[in-house]
């Protein structure tokens, strides 16, 4: 207890020096590119910026799959020369009535042989009354959401990168959510609009014969125009898919002087586009984006070059954003923003100032308290406290952790709690001195007895904050992380560093009485 070998002393001092070195990246520039230079990031609440929580629209994902399933069912039945009536989609599946009760068994057999996206995706059963029902499983729905998020993250990143945002963070949360953090962007409206658009572009022929009829014939859909007032009947069949685009850009049309979006197809798309336009000269071709008709120009000649232009009365911003969306690709499903938090830069600066001053003032108060009430050993505790601050900063830098306002509060509280261990030791030494022990015995007993208490009390605090880190969200996690790190550094600085200072002082001076 009262002996520190040279090696042990060197390692304690070494750790402190390494900690000091690790703090450097936060205050000075990187001298060499080859040197690892990790620093603490400021959270959005300190530097300003936006946080968006996006959720994949599961209804839409399910509806898409159900439409596909209905299609597959129809085709499977037709291929097997089986008949059906009332083929419809329900909330979780597809139902139909077999042509005759005898066909039910062949129906079931044929449908059960249909390929599934994941094993056990749906089950085929005959319900009461002879109806046959295909039901999607909940597990498959979750898997679809998960896949949709995986695909969406890449597209979300491409879209956000295209806006020129600096250091955006895009991460998955749970099965069906995406977190987007945008430092420096305190008004996320444009990004929100960009992410709120699926940007699924398709080209359909217009069903001119159905114009004016109230109920569209089979295979024709009434789609709204972008003006939101009129509707246009188009064939449901997708002639060309926007997924085959290779490039899109916004420019001003030379003839009309209006903003337009130019697009280029890859070879498959160009081939299809050429074929369709060649076969349908004189007909109208609708350009549909997210189930809205942007425009439906008349095809004048076959377009074989694989490129085209959309003019839809765009503003400059609309044309730029649309080109951006087409370039980045379509989202597999719509994303809904379910949480948004944005902080302006001036508020962030205010917070840094307020937090910084409080941190400094709290630090000074604690140091003054320890000096006044514990004298020399109090100063040793203060040195340990300073080392504690350095080590906390070092570990946070090493992890490239994000410092939030609650995180700063966590640091402050750690510093308040850190001296507890020193107080425990000092009080114990005082007691032992009062009992008439010699200086050496008192210090020895103080360290020995206090250590168990220190470990116990810190372990409970550690438990509480690890829980907070695991179950907390957002800024609370930052708070829990700093305190958790703080507890570890506190154990080091109090049990090893401040004790070493006390032991060294004793070894140097051999006092007969202790300054307690």
């Amino acid at each position: 207890m009262m002996y520190y070998s040279r090696l042990r002393m060197a390692s304690v001092i070494g750790v402190c020096l390494i900690g000091l070195a690790l703090c450097l990246p936060n205050v000075i520039r990187q001298p060499m590119a080859s040197l690892p230079w990790r620093q603490i990031h400021l959270g959005l609440d300190l530097r300003g910026g936006s946080y968006l929580l996006l959720q994949v629209d599961m209804n839409s994902v399910t509806a898409d799959r159900l439409r596909g399933l209905q299609d597959e069912t129809r085709q499977t039945l037709l291929k097997n020369s089986l008949g059906y009536r009332n083929l419809t989609t329900t909330a979780h599946g597809v139902t139909f009535t077999p042509r005759t009760p005898e066909e039910a068994q062949p129906d079931l057999k044929a449908l059960r042989a249909m390929p599934m996206n994941v094993p056990g995706e749906f089950k085929v059963e005959q319900a009461e009354g002879g109806q046959i029902a295909l039901t999607l499983s909940a597990e498959a729905a979750r898997q679809r959401a998960y896949d949709a998020v995986t695909q969406s993250i890449e597209i979300v990143r491409r879209r956000i990168d295209a806006t020129g945002a600096i250091d955006p963070e895009i991460t998955r949360q749970g099965d069906d959510r995406i977190i987007v953090e945008l430092p420096g962007i305190s008004d996320p409206e444009r990004v929100k609009n960009l992410l709120g658009t699926t940007a699924k572009m398709t080209f359909h022929l217009v069903a001119d014969s159905a114009i004016g009829s109230a109920v569209p014939p089979p295979g024709v859909e009434m789609l709204p125009m972008t003006d939101g007032q009129t509707k246009l009947p188009v064939f449901s069949h997708v002639d060309v898919d926007g997924a085959d685009l290779t490039n899109a850009s916004a420019s001003i049309d030379q003839q009309s002087g209006e903003w337009a979006v130019n697009f280029t197809f890859d070879s498959t798309g160009a081939q299809e586009f050429g074929d369709v336009t060649r076969a349908n000269v004189g007909k109208r071709f609708a350009i549909v984006l997210d189930n809205k008709v942007i425009e439906a120009p008349v095809i004048r000649t076959a377009i074989t070059g694989g490129s085209g232009q959309i003019t839809g009365g765009f503003s400059a911003q609309q044309a730029t954003d649309m080109a951006l969306l087409l370039r980045a690709g379509a989202l597999p499903a719509p994303l809904n923003v379910i949480e948004q938090r944005s902080i302006g830069p001036s508020l962030g600066a205010d917070s840094i100032r307020a937090g910084g001053y409080s941190l400094a003032a709290g630090f000074v108060l604690v140091i003054a308290f320890m000096a006044l009430f514990y004298g020399r050993f109090g100063w040793y505790a203060n040195i340990a406290l300073l080392a504690n601050l350095v080590l906390m900063t070092a570990i946070l830098s090493l992890f490239e952790a994000t410092l939030t306002l609650p995180g700063m509060a966590g640091m402050l509280l750690t510093l308040g709690m850190a001296v507890d261990a020193n107080i425990l030791i000092n009080e114990r030494i005082r007691e032992e001195v009062a009992r008439g022990r010699s200086a050496l015995q008192a210090m020895q007993a103080g360290f020995e007895r206090a250590t168990g208490t220190i470990v116990d009390s810190n372990a409970t605090a550690l438990l509480a904050h690890v829980m907070l880190f695991v179950f907390g969200t957002g800024p609370v996690r930052g708070f829990a992380l700093t305190i958790t790190i703080g507890i570890v550094t506190t154990l080091f600085t109090t049990l090893l560093l401040s004790r070493m200072l006390m032991v060294r002082w004793y070894a140097r001076t051999r006092p007969s009485t202790l300054p307690v």
């Binding site: 929580l53 959720q55 008004d187 929100k192 809904n336 923003v337 949480e339 948004q340 938090r341 944005s342 902080i343 302006g344 001036s346 508020l347 917070s351 307020a354 937090g355 001053y357 409080s358 003032a361 709290g362 630090f363 108060l365 604690v366 308290f369 000096a371 006044l372 009430f373 514990y374 020399r376 609650p406 509060a409 509280l413 308040g416 709690m417 001296v419 507890d420 107080i423 425990l424 005082r430 009062a434 168990g452 208490t453 116990d456 009390s457 372990a459 409970t460 605090a461 438990l463 509480a464 904050h465 829980m467 907070l468 179950f471 907390g472 969200t473 800024p475 609370v476 829990a480 300054p515």
Partner: protein
């Protein structure tokens, strides 16, 4: 040397305060406060923050003192209704609150988000005004955040119980956790009275209080356990008193440093942190006093028979 010896002393050496004599007063006071807090919890109830209530809060700074009529008019022009506009902080700071559409409506999440943009546009029409902060939390998210927050609280309490149980006898664990629950109710009462918004940051504050309070109890209990071994025939009441007196200087010392550390935060920490810090300060006072006046008497009540069983003089045959 001036800095060698301590200049001040908190507690005079060798106090012999008879805390256990006032144990029923302590328990009764605590019970009254906790019951009052529970009543406050049900009526009027906690002021839920944005995290748990859902909705929209926009903080804006206007040029010169805020003109509420102009702000309301600008909001009305953007078709934003039912907006609560109030001042907060300085005279040029305003807080605009909106309720989210009921979650029975199909597109309530999208409309919540659209409403934030409308408020932004409204602020944009006021000369020199800027948005400091804009938060919108949908109904589904707020429910989830609330559930997670409560889960974190519950599990932390259980873990603390388990740890103390593992390290001490069960009387210690049970009286510690009962005391923690009493502390918790008082903190909730404090939140109701002060109208501090109960949100995720407050959950963090409460967990920190609980952590601190546990820490304090562990130190006293540790000494009780040590003294149980040391003085094998001392009556438990006397022994607990002795343990509290021996640790009193440390108890007050540590609570003072934590208090001092949190005090500047409460005074200058700004709107978002001062509520947190005040709850911390309240918790430090409650947590420190409950170690002495609640946790120790509870231990005495529960352990009077059992903990001193081995202290009986051996029976002669």
């Amino acid at each position: 040397m001036m800095f060698d010896r301590p200049l001040l002393r908190f507690v005079p050496r060798g106090t012999k305060i008879n805390f256990m004599r006032g144990r029923f007063i302590g328990l009764a006071t605590s019970a009254v406060l906790s019951i009052a807090s529970l009543i406050l919890f049900f009526h009027p109830g906690l002021t839920l923050g944005l995290d748990f209530r859902g909705g929209i809060v926009v903080e804006a700074r206007t040029q010169g003192p805020a003109d509420f009529n102009a702000i309301r008019a600008a909001l009305a022009a953007q078709h934003v209704t039912a907006a609560g506009v109030q001042s907060f902080g300085g005279p040029d700071d305003v807080l605009i609150r909106l309720d989210t559409p009921p979650d029975s409506e199909p597109d309530h999440e999208a409309r919540t988000q659209a409403m934030v943009d409308s408020v932004r546009h409204a602020i944009g029409t006021l000369p020199g005004a800027q948005v400091l902060r804009a938060d919108a939390v949908g109904a589904s998210v707020s429910k989830e955040l609330f559930r997670n927050g409560m889960l974190a609280l519950g599990i932390s309490l259980l873990m603390i119980l388990a740890y103390i149980w593992f390290r001490f006898e069960w009387e210690f664990a049970v009286s510690a956790v009962v005391t923690l629950v009493l502390d918790l109710t008082k903190a909730i009462g404090f939140l109701v009275i002060t109208h501090f918004e109960f949100d995720l940051v407050m959950v963090a504050a409460i967990l920190t209080i609980l952590g601190y309070s546990t820490n304090d109890k562990v130190v006293v209990y540790d000494r009780v356990r040590e003294n149980l071994r040391k003085y094998r025939t001392m009556p438990l009441a006397e022994l607990i008193d002795l343990s509290i007196n021996e640790t009193l200087s440390r108890t007050l010392g540590t609570s003072s440093t934590v208090f001092l550390a949190a005090l500047p935060l409460a005074l200058f920490g700004g709107a978002s942190l001062s509520g947190f810090a005040w709850v911390m300060l309240f918790g430090i006072v409650v947590g420190t006093s409950s170690s002495i006046f609640i946790a120790a008497p509870l231990l005495l009540l529960m352990g009077e028979k059992r903990l001193r069983r081995d202290a009986r003089p051996p029976v002669r045959t």
